[in-house]
C-alpha cells in the first residue's frame, strides 16, 4: 500500500506474543492513519467499560501516510488509549523522529495489549521484535533512560519512554521522546506504566513505497521553499512557542493564579526574548522540519539542560503558579520531563492546591508542613516530586483536579479548572467565547490542540457570541487534528501560513489516491464523530453537561489584566452549545444523530 509501512505490530504483554498483520486497506481509506487509526482500533477492539489501567485497555501508537516522507514536519506520532485521567478518549501526539523510524521499520501502528508480569521494553529493529527485561531501568527518569538505551542499542534507535510518574500511575503521566518532547496529555504514560512497559526502542531501514516519487520530490521541495519564504519564519524559529508569552499577557489570555487573572503584573522575566537571551543555547527540530521551533536551553542557576520551556509550560507553571523567573520555570520543566509528568496538568493541579491552601481547604497538616504559596519555586519543585512519587498530599494531587476537588469538597469544585476531567491548557478564556467553546468541546478534554480560536475572538470581537464562532471552532476541529491523522506537524500551516492546498497533491503523490481538501476534512469529521461516540459509549450519562466549562469562567470575573471584570454568562454558554450542536448535526444533548453517523459512514462501526 503506497504511503504506508504496510503492517500493524500487535504486542501482547500478558502472553509475550508478538504478531504482524497487514494494515487493513479499508481502515486506511476511511481513517487515513495517526489518530484516525487510533480511534478506529480503540473503538472496535477495546471492550466497553474497560478499566483504563487494566489489561483490556490498549495503547495504540500510530504514524500517518505523510510520516517519514519529504513533507515539511512529517514527524508526528499519535498515542491513543482510554484515558485514566478522564475515563474517555485520549490521544496525544509527539514530534521528534519516532514516527519516521517506525515506518522505516515497516509498521504503521503498534497495538500494545495486556499487562506484562515484569518491567519490559519493546525492542524493534526492522523485522526483529522482542520484549526485553527493563527491571534495571524501572524507577529511572525518562531522560536518563533515553540516554541509557541509546548507549546500549546505538544512536540510530529512537526511544519513547516513561518516567517514575508513569510507573506510579500518576493520572497525567506523559510519554517522552527525543530528550524533551512529550505525548503529554490524558495519561498516555500512565497506561504504559500500568502495562509495565518502560520504553519502546525503534530502528528501521526500509523504504516507504511512494506512488509517484518524481511528483513528491517536486511538490515536497515546493512546500519546503514556501516555509522558508514565509514572513513568520524568522520569528518562529527565534522564539518557537515562547513567542506567545508576551502576546498572551498583552491580550489578557495568560492564566495566572489558577485562572483568576489574565496577565502577570510583570512578565518580563518570562518573555520569549528573555528566554532566548538568558538560557537558549540552540534550536531543535523534529524529523524533516524546516522551521525548528524547539529551544534547547541550559540553566546556570540549576545546572540543567532542558528542551523548552514551551509556552504551555511557561503559562501553567510560570503564570498559573506565579513563577516569574524563566530559570525557575526551566527547572520545573526539567523535573517534569525527567519524572514524566504533563506540565500543563501539573501546573493546574499545583495552582489548584495553592488556592486550596489559601482558602484553608488544605492545611499544613496535609502538606507535611509545607506552606503552599504563589510564586515560591521551592513549593513548585517539592509538589512536582511529591506528585510523581505519590508521597503525602501528592497522592491525592496525582489524580488530577477533578478527582481531588471532589474528594476535598468545601467548594473547591468551583475552582477546579478542567473540562471532562482534563485540566485546561494555557489560554485564559473568561472573555473569549470561541476559545472557551474550543475547550468545552475538545474531544480529549480541555486542550487547545484541536481548536485554537482566541485570535478569532480578538479579530471579530471578544464579547460576541455568534454562530460564526461555532462554525470557526468546528472548522479548526477538522483542520488541525487532520494533521494528526496525516502524521505531520500542523505548525507550518498555523505559524508559517503555508497554503493548505499544498497538502492534497503531496498526499496524492505519496499514496496514489486523489483526495481534495473537502474529502480530507470529511475524514477528519468522521474521526471527530467517532471520538464523540466513544465518550457516549464509555461514560454513563454522557452529554451536554460534560461540555460545561469550569464554574470560574462564568461565576467569577477576571481579577487582573486587559479583560479585568469580564466573565461569560451562563446563557451565552448554553447558546454556544446550541449553535455548535446544531452545526455539527448533533442533538440538543450533544449526541451525534443516527443520520449524521450514517452520512459519515460510521453506522456499521457504531452499532
Amino acid at each position: 500500500m503506497n504511503g504506508y509501512g504496510g503492517k500493524i505490530l500487535r504486542v501482547n504483554l500478558t502472553t509475550g506474543q508478538i504478531t504482524k498483520e497487514p494494515t487493513p486497506a479499508h481502515v486506511a481509506e476511511k481513517f487515513l492513519g495517526g489518530r484516525g487509526f487510533g480511534i478506529y482500533f480503540l473503538y472496535t477492539e477495546v471492550p466497553k467499560g474497560a478499566n483504563p489501567l487494566g489489561p483490556e485497555n490498549k495503547l495504540i501508537i500510530s504514524s500517518g501516510p505523510l510520516s517519514g516522507t519529504l513533507t515539511p514536519g512529517a514527524g508526528k506520532m499519535d498515542f491513543t488509549t482510554k484515558s485514566p485521567l478522564t475515563g474517555g478518549y485520549a490521544s496525544a501526539s509527539v514530534g521528534g523522529h519516532l514516527t519516521a523510524e517506525l515506518k522505516y521499520a515497516g509498521y504503521d501502528s503498534i497495538i500494545v495489549e495486556g499487562i506484562s508480569p515484569k518491567p519490559v521494553y519493546l525492542y524493534i529493529n526492522d523485522d526483529e521484535v522482542e520484549l526485553r527485561d527493563a527491571s534495571d531501568l524501572w524507577g529511572k527518569g525518562a531522560i536518563t533512560v533515553e540516554t541509557e538505551l541509546k548507549k546500549r542499542l546505538g544512536e540510530e534507535f529512537q526511544i519513547a519512554t516513561i518516567g517514575p510518574a508513569g510507573e506510579n500511575l500518576v493520572k497525567y503521566a506523559c510519554i517522552s521522546h527525543d530528550f524533551g518532547r512529550q505525548a503529554g496529555r490524558g495519561g498516555v504514560g500512565t497506561v504504559m506504566g500500568a502495562k509495565k512497559l518502560k520504553a519502546i526502542a525503534v530502528h528501521g531501514t526500509k523504504d516507504i513505497p511512494i506512488a509517484d516519487p518524481q511528483a513528491l520530490l517536486r511538490l515536497g521541495t515546493e512546500a519546503y521553499k514556501a516555509c522558508k519564504a514565509s514572513g513568520g519564519f524568522e520569528a518562529w524559529v527565534r522564539y518557537g512557542t515562547s513567542g506567545v508569552t508576551v502576546w498572551s499577557n498583552e491580550v489578557g489570555a495568560f492564566p495566572v493564579r489558577n485562572f483568576q487573572a489574565g496577565a502577570l503584573e510583570d512578565y518580563s522575566g518570562l518573555s520569549g526574548e528573555t528566554m532566548r537571551q538568558r538560557i537558549v543555547i540552540t534550536d531543535k527540530g523534529c524529523f524533516g522540519c524546516p522551521s525548528p521551533c524547539g529551544k534547547y536551553s541550559f540553566s546556570k542557576k540549576y545546572n540543567i539542560y532542558v528542551e523548552g520551556p514551551e509556552y504551555e509550560t511557561t503559562a501553567l507553571i510560570g503564570g498559573d503558579c506565579v513563577l516569574t523567573d524563566i530559570e525557575d520555570v526551566a527547572y520545573a520543566n526539567w523535573l517534569c520531563d525527567e519524572l514524566g509528568i504533563d506540565t500543563i496538568s501539573v501546573g493546574n493541579v499545583m495552582a489548584f492546591a495553592i488556592e486550596c491552601f489559601e482558602k484553608g481547604i488544605i492545611t499544613k497538616e496535609d502538606t507535611g508542613g509545607l506552606e503552599l504559596r504563589w510564586g515560591e519555586p521551592k513549593v513548585v519543585f517539592t509538589l512536582i516530586e511529591k506528585i510523581a512519587r505519590r508521597e503525602g498530599i501528592g497522592d491525592l494531587l496525582a489524580e488530577g483536579v477533578k478527582y481531588a476537588s471532589q474528594k476535598l469538597g468545601k467548594g473547591s469544585e468551583e475552582f477546579a479548572i478542567h473540562v471532562k476531567g482534563m485540566e485546561v491548557s494555557g489560554y485564559e478564556s473568561h472573555n473569549a467565547p470561541a476559545m472557551l467553546l474550543s475547550y468545552m468541546t475538545c474531544d480529549v478534554g480541555a486542550h487547545h490542540n484541536r481548536s485554537w480560536a482566541i485570535t478569532y475572538d480578538l479579530q471579530v470581537g471578544r464579547d460576541l457570541v455568534t454562530p460564526d464562532k461555532a462554525e470557526r471552532v468546528i472548522y479548526l476541529q477538522h483542520v488541525r487534528p487532520l494533521f494528526d491523522c496525516l502524521g505531520a506537524c500542523r505548525l507550518q500551516w498555523v505559524e508559517l501560513s503555508i497554503d493548505l492546498g499544498l497538502y492534497p497533491p503531496i498526499l496524492k503523490a505519496i499514496t496514489g489516491i486523489d483526495r481534495s481538501w473537502e474529502d480530507l476534512l470529511k475524514i477528519s469529521e468522521r474521526v471527530w464523530n467517532l471520538t464523540r461516540m466513544y465518550w457516549v459509549r464509555e461514560v454513563e450519562g454522557f452529554g451536554r453537561e460534560w461540555d460545561y466549562p469550569p464554574p470560574r469562567f462564568y461565576k467569577e470575573p477576571v481579577t487582573y489584566g486587559p479583560t479585568k471584570g469580564k466573565l461569560m454568562s451562563w446563557s451565552d454558554i448554553q447558546k454556544l452549545l446550541d449553535m455548535y450542536y446544531e452545526k455539527r448535526g448533533w442533538d440538543k444533548n450533544g449526541i451525534p444523530t443516527p443520520e449524521k453517523l450514517a452520512e459519515l459512514g460510521l453506522a456499521d462501526i457504531v452499532k
Binding site: G231, G232, A235, Y239, T241, G243, V244, V246, W247, E250, V251, G272, E310, Y311, E312, H448, N449, W452, I454, T455, L458, Q459, G461, R462, L491, W493, V494, E495, S497, P562
Partner: protein
C-alpha cells in the same frame, strides 16, 4: 503626543515604546515604521480594539499586537 507600543516581534520595527504625533491612521503609522501590515493582528487603542483605518488621537495609547497562529 500619542504613545505607541509594539508588542513581541513587532518591537523590532518600532522599539518597545515610542511617541508619535496624532492625526495619522494606524495603517499610515505602520507604513511609516516599515511594519508589514499583515504581521499586525490586533490594534488596541486605550485598551480597546480598533480597525487599522482608525485615526490616532494626540492622547491615545496605541498597542500593536502581532498576529499569531498559536500552538
Amino acid at each position: 503626543m500619542a504613545k505607541v507600543k509594539a508588542v513581541g516581534i513587532l518591537s523590532r520595527y518600532a522599539g518597545d515604546e515610542m511617541e508619535v504625533e496624532g492625526g495619522k491612521s494606524v495603517e499610515e503609522l505602520l507604513a511609516s515604521l516599515g511594519i508589514p501590515s499583515p504581521l499586525v493582528g490586533i490594534v488596541l487603542v486605550n485598551g480597546r480594539q480598533v480597525e487599522k483605518s482608525y485615526v490616532i488621537g494626540e492622547e491615545d495609547e496605541v498597542k500593536l499586537i502581532p498576529l499569531l497562529g498559536g500552538g
